[in-house]
């Protein structure tokens, strides 16, 4: 799609950012480096090798939905600190910092939208907000999205990117698993639909709850979809891990996802699914 601007590929491996991390616009697979507008124009897929860069929630919504169709819901929800959790820093400080850096109140954005003229409800996760971790607000937003979808009789499309439950909310974050599961059950009982799109990474508590309960499960290429991450498995079992351990491709082979859809085809695929589930909603 769109013409690629080659110039920026000349300087492979842009100088690392502060702290020695590779620049976020340098492809970790082939080393090509891009300007932000180039990546954005190509849906943040590396034009050279097809690597899928992470996509922020707002940009994901722009990529998927019809222009100006998105209307956010429950944006006012903010997490409090039920356990007065303090590790090396207070949880409240981490929350403020995350909001400042992402411009989002929490790790999930929900709202009404249309895709190729089909109405739907969206629930999109933001990995940049504390690793997309699911605390009480994410659980509440997802449940609200289910209810909103059911009320309006439209399918819910979730796009997940999450490290799992939010430790700083302790056992209450574990309770978001059954909470979101119950929300999906209510949606299903009303004849509703959940289309689950799993982006990199969809792991632990989110994989073990609503993300796996979609009527259809679609994964992005190369996305890590595992309950336990490769590092922990490696450390615990000392097994040699398969090269594609936990990746979408391995999940597909083992029967856990319906399709791996490149981001360039995601919008049209979701639109097709919305058409198919239209009389089921």
């Amino acid at each position: 799609m769109s013409e690629r601007i080659d110039v920026s590929i000349e300087h492979k491996h842009a100088p690392p950012e502060d702290g020695g991390r590779p620049h976020p616009n340098t492809c970790p697979t082939c080393g090509s480096h891009y300007r932000d507008d180039e990546l954005e124009a190509n849906l943040r897929v590396c034009p050279q090798c097809g690597h899928h860069f992470p996509v922020h929630a707002r940009e994901r919504i722009r990529q998927l939905t019809d222009p100006d169709s998105f209307s956010e819901e429950a944006s006012e929800l903010r997490s409090d600190d039920p356990l007065e959790f303090f590790d090396l820093r207070p949880y409240t400080e981490r929350l403020v910092e995350a909001e400042l850096s992402t411009g989002l109140g929490e790790a999930m954005v929900i709202g009404r939208a249309a895709i190729e003229d089909r109405p739907c409800e969206l629930a999109v996760m933001e990995f940049g907000f504390m690793g997309g971790s699911m605390g009480r607000v994410v659980g509440e937003k997802f449940a609200t999205a289910c209810e909103s979808a059911a009320e309006r009789g439209v399918p819910l499309v979730s796009v997940t990117a999450s490290g799992g439950a939010r430790m700083q909310e302790g056992i209450l974050s574990l309770m978001q698993l059954p909470k979101t599961v119950c929300a999906v059950e209510d949606l299903h009982d009303g004849g509703g639909t959940l289309i689950s799109v799993m982006a990199h990474p969809t792991t632990a508590g989110v994989l073990a709850s609503f993300a796996s309960l979609g009527d259809v499960l679609v994964a992005e290429p190369g996305a890590l979809l595992s309950f336990t991450g490769p590092r922990v498995v490696q450390q615990t079992t000392r097994e040699k891990l398969p090269d594609d351990f936990g990746l979408a491709e391995s999940n597909y082979r083992h029967g856990h996802v319906d399709a791996i859809v490149p981001r360039t085809e995601l919008r049209s695929t979701v639109a097709r699914l919305l058409r198919l589930f239209a009389n089921g909603a």
Binding site: L77, D87, P178, G205, V233
Partner: protein, 313 residues
């Protein structure tokens, strides 16, 4: 938070007190227990006390699920296998008669000696284990048998095959099935209630917790390794995320705390079983007379509203 819990429990108490004591002793037992729990809550446990409950929850001499089965159920018949490709010994499931009625029981099961521990994978379930549990749930649902689950799992198993067989999805589907059941369901954390492995069988109408059990989103060591970057700081992590029964009750995550014999369940299996049996029976009695539809609706509302946040004014 202790303050809020106090208010909530006081409310519960006065509601119970105002009820005509139709069902007699049992309900008044519930009342007494609430009273005691209330007394315990008003004083915050110290970090040391929290850590002591972590150690007790993991005590290898603690009774395991089958120790309770032996003491609480008659005519026990164990079910085996997931009907797909295996029989996971870390999960036990079966039918038995509990105080006069047939129930289905699902439990996590650790091993006593080295050989049994290996066989049972230290109580860490594989997807095959959740599969067996789901099969047992379906059996309960088909025949209207109440479901009891005894939870004691360090966590899901961090292994390659477990991932390849889809443990994330299995944990999700097990919860989803529990959310659909039309029979009374009671869960009790009897040791370690570790993360996804625990919640897979804990989406119940009533969730109980033994006095010295723990219920966590991640192990204290795992939490410390991530947030403190040092697994040795587990004690600090435990103090920070408060996995003990008192706090779980305060937070509304469990409905009641089941007392253990003085010093912990490991000191007297028979007495521990008696206390657990009474609590389970009482919970089942509370659910008696509710229709399948009521049960599942109330169950979903329960989990929909635990620790719910509300919009800022």
């Amino acid at each position: 938070m202790a303050r809020e819990a106090e208010v909530r429990l006081r409310g519960q108490l006065s509601r119970l007190r105002s009820l005509p004591l139709l069902r007699g002793a049992r309900l008044s037992g519930e009342l007494e227990r609430l009273q005691k729990q209330l007394e315990r809550i008003v004083e915050e446990p110290s970090d040391e006390e929290i850590w002591r409950s972590v150690e007790l929850a993991r005590n290898p001499d603690r009774p395991y699920a089958l120790d309770y089965v032996e003491r609480l159920l008659e005519d026990w018949f164990e079910l085996h296998g997931d009907r797909q490709h295996g029989d996971d010994a870390a999960v036990v499931a079966g039918l038995g008669r509990f105080r006069g009625r047939t129930v289905v029981l699902i439990g996590n099961q650790k091993g006593r000696d080295v050989k049994e521990r290996t066989k049972r994978n230290f109580g860490m379930a594989y997807p095959e284990g959740y599969g067996k549990a789901m099969r047992a749930m379906e059996l309960a649902d088909r025949h209207g048998f109440p479901l009891l689950t005894l939870i004691d799992i360090p966590g899901a198993y961090p292994g390659v095959t477990a991932e390849q067989h889809g443990q994330g999805g299995a944990i999700a589907r097990s919860q989803s099935l529990m959310a659909r059941l039309r029979v009374p369901t009671v869960a009790c954390i009897i040791g370690e209630g570790g993360s996804g492995g625990a919640i897979a069988t804990a989406l119940a109408d009533r969730v109980l917790m033994q006095e010295n059990a723990m219920y966590t989103v991640i192990s204290p060591e795992g939490c410390a390794a991530i947030l403190w970057r040092d697994a040795g700081e587990a004690k600090k992590a435990a103090a920070a995320f408060k996995p003990d029964a008192g706090h779980c009750l305060e937070l509304g995550v469990v409905d009641a705390v089941v007392p253990e014999p003085e010093g912990g369940a490991q000191t007297d299996f028979d007495d521990a079983a008696r206390l657990l049996g009474d609590a389970l029976a009482e919970s089942l009695e509370m659910l008696d007379g509710m229709s399948g539809e009521e049960l599942r609706q109330q169950r979903r509302v329960r989990f929909r509203t635990i620790g719910q946040v509300s919009a800022a004014p």
